[in-house]
């Protein structure tokens, strides 16, 4: 700590010794010294600020704005406490003389002597409250400037200012010495100050670190520091260690009720470090509440219940006397109720219509499923083209053949004669002939194409024409047959045979059957003979009779 302080003081000294114009140009070495100096000052002031968040001024890598902010952070509460201190001293100048001085060596005592001299001197000079206050205010303002500039790089200029201010400040503090009224009693003050000094001494020994008092050039600084420190230490004593001291509390929290008769409550005295008017007012309220509770406590529970019921009855009677709300009034038209009031009330009536469907994801999904199913089936309800009804019967178109007739006229007559005789042998009409030719040709063509086109081609089965062979001699009918074949061979055996029943061979016949056969033959012959003679008799019977 000593080394750093030594370096810091060294930095300060260097700053002081530099020329003013050199601050105008940016100089890295100078800025380094300035930073070191400000760090030193910061850490020196640190013990006096109870609420300082920073233990040390962080200068490495921070720019001017940030360093300034850190210093500001520490100095703002410091400023307010200093101002308060100054005001306090402005009112009670005698206290200054009794301020406990830090035991830093002879210089401190020297200062104390100085102060005593000055304070005595000034007591006589300045007796007006106002002057003292003015000075105090001046001092306060100067202190502001002083603290404001402390973090800057032009520290050397201010140190001399600080010195001057300190002296002025001392003047101010000493200026209010002659005032005394019923609040301020000098004896009480002295007693209080002595007590405070004792406390302070103990505290200071714990808090104070070792300070290097050998540096002459730092005496000025130390003067400044000490002054501030003392004031601050006073503060500390008040804030940090005066809590248990009720008197100190009272002095600080002095309010109207302390002097001119307290009100009923006793809370205000017990509250700690509350300087605001709000707390005062809340104290008053608390006092009132206490009183009321005491009153109620006297009534019994039955009385309480009765009171409740009474209040309810009053409410209901009042409601009955007033006109009812429109919802309770039976038939109400729109004119009789406030605008849009029907929208807020939950009206109850039946809807006879099914409500409109809300289209949710599920509904859409189900519809789409149905569509997909229909698509896969291919089942659509499309419009079908109706088959057109035949409006007219297609007319028979008569075709005339305009080629020259191939048959001569005699042949035509011949055909007509044959037609007349034998109606079966009608020649095919021209149309049918053509048709038949066409169909035969096409069949052949089709067969060939099928044979070419089909993988598995089965030729058309040949249908045999059934035609009856007539047992007619060859001359009557021209047949395309080989010459060697006779008529007999053309006919099938059943066509040749004209018998009935079961035919037996000569050898197969039995004796009875032979006899029977002969008898049948004889009978037939006799019958035939009779017939012959009958015929002969008819024709000419005389020749037979003559002979026989």
């Amino acid at each position: 700590m000593a080394g750093s302080t030594g370096a810091g003081e060294e930095a300060l000294r260097r700053l002081m010794s530099t020329n003013q114009p050199s601050f105008l140009a940016p100089n890295p070495a100078l800025s380094e010294t300035a930073r070191a100096a400000s760090r030193h000052l910061f850490s020196a002031l640190r013990p006096f600020c109870p609420k300082s968040p920073l233990d040390q001024l962080l200068v490495d890598g921070f720019d001017a704005e940030q360093i300034w902010q850190q210093i500001d952070l520490q100095s703002q509460p410091l400023l307010s406490s200093l101002r308060r201190q100054v005001k306090h001293f402005a009112k009670n100048p005698k206290e200054i003389s009794q301020l406990k001085v830090v035991p830093l060596g002879k210089k401190v005592e020297k200062e104390q002597e100085e102060w005593m001299e000055e304070s005595d001197g000034f007591d006589e000079e300045l007796e007006d409250d106002e002057e003292g206050e003015e000075k105090g205010e001046e001092y306060g303002m100067e202190i502001e400037e002083e603290d404001g500039d402390q973090g800057g790089e032009s520290g050397s200029e201010e140190e001399s200012e600080e010195e001057d201010e300190e002296e002025k400040g001392e003047d101010g503090e000493g200026g209010g010495g002659g005032i005394e009224d019923k609040f301020l009693k000098i004896d009480e003050l002295t007693k209080y100050l002595e007590k405070e000094e004792e406390n302070f001494e103990n505290a200071e020994r714990d808090m104070r670190g070792k300070k290097d008092a050998d540096d002459e050039e730092d005496t000025e600084d130390e003067d400044d520091h000490d002054d501030e420190e003392e004031e601050e230490s006073d503060e500390d004593a008040e804030f940090g260690f005066g809590d248990e001291d009720e008197e100190a509390e009272d002095m600080e929290n002095a309010r109207y009720e302390d002097f001119f008769g307290a009100k009923k409550g006793k809370y205000s005295k017990k509250k700690k470090a509350q300087l605001h008017q709000d707390s005062e007012s809340s104290d008053d309220e608390d006092d009132d509440m206490e009183f009321k509770k005491q009153n109620k406590g006297t009534a019994s529970t039955h009385q309480k219940q009765l009171e409740k019921i009474q209040s309810k009855i009053e409410q209901m009677e009042k409601a009955n006397l007033e006109p009812k709300t429109w919802t309770m009034q039976g038939e109400v038209t729109a004119a009789k109720r406030p605008k849009n009031s029907a929208l807020e009330v939950d009206l109850d009536f039946e809807h006879n219509v099914r409500p409109a469907p809300v289209i949710t994801e599920e509904v859409t999904a189900s519809i789409e499923d149905m569509i997909k199913k229909r698509i896969t089936e291919g089942h659509f309800n499309d419009v079908q083209r109706a088959p057109k009804l035949p409006s007219k019967v297609p007319r028979e178109v008569k075709e005339l053949d305009d080629n020259k007739s191939k048959q001569g006229l005699a042949e035509i007559y011949e055909q007509e004669y044959v037609q007349k005789e034998d109606p079966t042998s009608a020649p095919l009409s021209f149309k049918d002939e053509q048709k038949q030719q066409a169909s035969v040709l096409f069949k052949k063509l089709g067969l060939k194409l099928d044979a070419l086109a089909h993988f598995s081609f089965a030729p058309k089965p040949v249908i045999e024409d059934m035609s009856v062979q007539i047992n007619v001699p060859a001359l009557a009918m021209e047949e395309i047959a080989p010459v060697a074949v006779s008529d007999a061979a053309m006919l099938a055996p059943e066509e040749v045979f004209d018998g009935k029943g079961d035919i037996k061979e000569e050898t197969e016949l039995t004796k009875e059957e032979r006899k029977r056969r002969r008898a049948n033959k004889k009978r037939k012959f006799k019958a035939a003979g009779v017939k012959r003679t009958g015929k002969k008799m008819q024709e000419g019977a005389l020749p037979n009779q003559v002979n026989g």
């Binding site: 006879n352 289209i359 519809i367 569509i371 997909k372 698509i375 896969t376 309800n381 083209r385 057109k388």
Partner: protein, 293 residues
């Protein structure tokens, strides 16, 4: 032209009036046919007319066997020709309604959109009949939201009045690229859950707004009935891969239709006979369904 119209209307009404007698005749023929098939004796009341009726039965073909009603008459020739539709709005339409009507003109193939201007409905119908239109569709709105659809079949055909709900138009969909352009192929139709007679009638009215499609089109228009609310959907499908994978992409507007009236005349005939009208104030109307079972 006027006289022709009057004559045709009179013919139509006359045929409608004959329907009762036609039905009786049909019933008698049917009884005789049944008796002959089953070998039972002919019922006694038909004995006198039996011979004449038998002859007629013999001469019947499939067209004359079924009794025809005026309902069939209205759409008799609808299947032979492609429909021609005229789309208009109520008077002074708002911009969203105009957009919706434009979309509908793409949904129905062979549809023509016309500005309403200050035309009277009877004028519109007259000119449509003269120009051989088969249907007229009017769209109504409420403050920009389409809420009514009137489909009128033209040569004295039926008029169906629908209310529109839950309308989502193509213009409302922000991502234009995703939805793409509207295809104009003739679509396949799907009518789901129209099981009662009235349901069939409604399905017919909506069906004959579309022409005969090619069997391989990818565009599908669906009318799906759920408790008297008909959902209209318009999709395009794609078959990726073999195993029955179908991907549906929804295009076109979607809305719910609610039928509230069918009249047996065109829109301009206010005195036409009402075939069916909704009865919402009947106590049991909540439980009853008219388009399905």
């Amino acid at each position: 032209m006027l006289r022709r119209n009057i004559r045709m209307r009179r013919e139509y009404l006359y045929r409608k009036s004959l329907e009762g007698k036609e039905r009786l005749l049909y019933e008698k023929k049917r009884k005789i046919r049944e008796a002959l098939q089953e070998g039972k004796p002919i019922p006694t009341e038909l004995r006198n007319e039996e011979a004449a009726l038998r002859r007629e039965i013999d001469l019947e073909d499939e067209n004359t066997a079924v009794p025809r009603s005026h309902i069939d008459d209205e759409y008799a020739h609808a299947a032979e020709k492609d429909p021609k539709i005229l789309l208009t709005t109520s008077r002074d339409p708002s911009a969203p309604l105009q957009q919706f009507v434009k979309e509908l003109s793409f949904v129905f193939p062979n549809a023509q959109r016309m500005n309403r201007g200050g035309q009277v409905i009877s004028e519109i119908i007259e000119s449509c009949r003269a120009h051989d239109y088969t249907d007229v569709v009017l769209v109504h709105e409420h403050r920009g939201v389409p809420d009514g659809l009137i489909v009128s079949h033209l040569p004295y055909g039926p008029t169906a009045y629908f209310g529109l709900l839950n309308v989502v138009t193509r213009h409302e969909i922000k991502d234009r690229k995703a939805i793409g352009t509207m295809p104009e192929a003739y679509p396949h139709l799907i009518f789901d859950n129209f099981s009662t007679k009235l349901g069939e009638r409604t399905a017919n009215i909506l069906k004959y707004l579309f022409p005969v499609p090619k069997p391989d089109t990818k565009r599908i228009v669906t009318f799906s009935n759920q408790s008297d609310y008909v959902s209209f959907r318009h999709h395009i499908y794609e078959k990726h891969g073999g195993p029955k994978s179908i991907e549906l992409k929804e295009i076109g507007p979607r809305f719910e239709l609610r039928l509230y009236q069918i009249k047996l005349g065109t829109v301009d005939q206010a005195e036409a006979q009402i075939e069916w009208v909704i009865r919402p104030y009947m106590n049991t109307s909540k439980k009853r369904k008219f388009l399905s079972d």
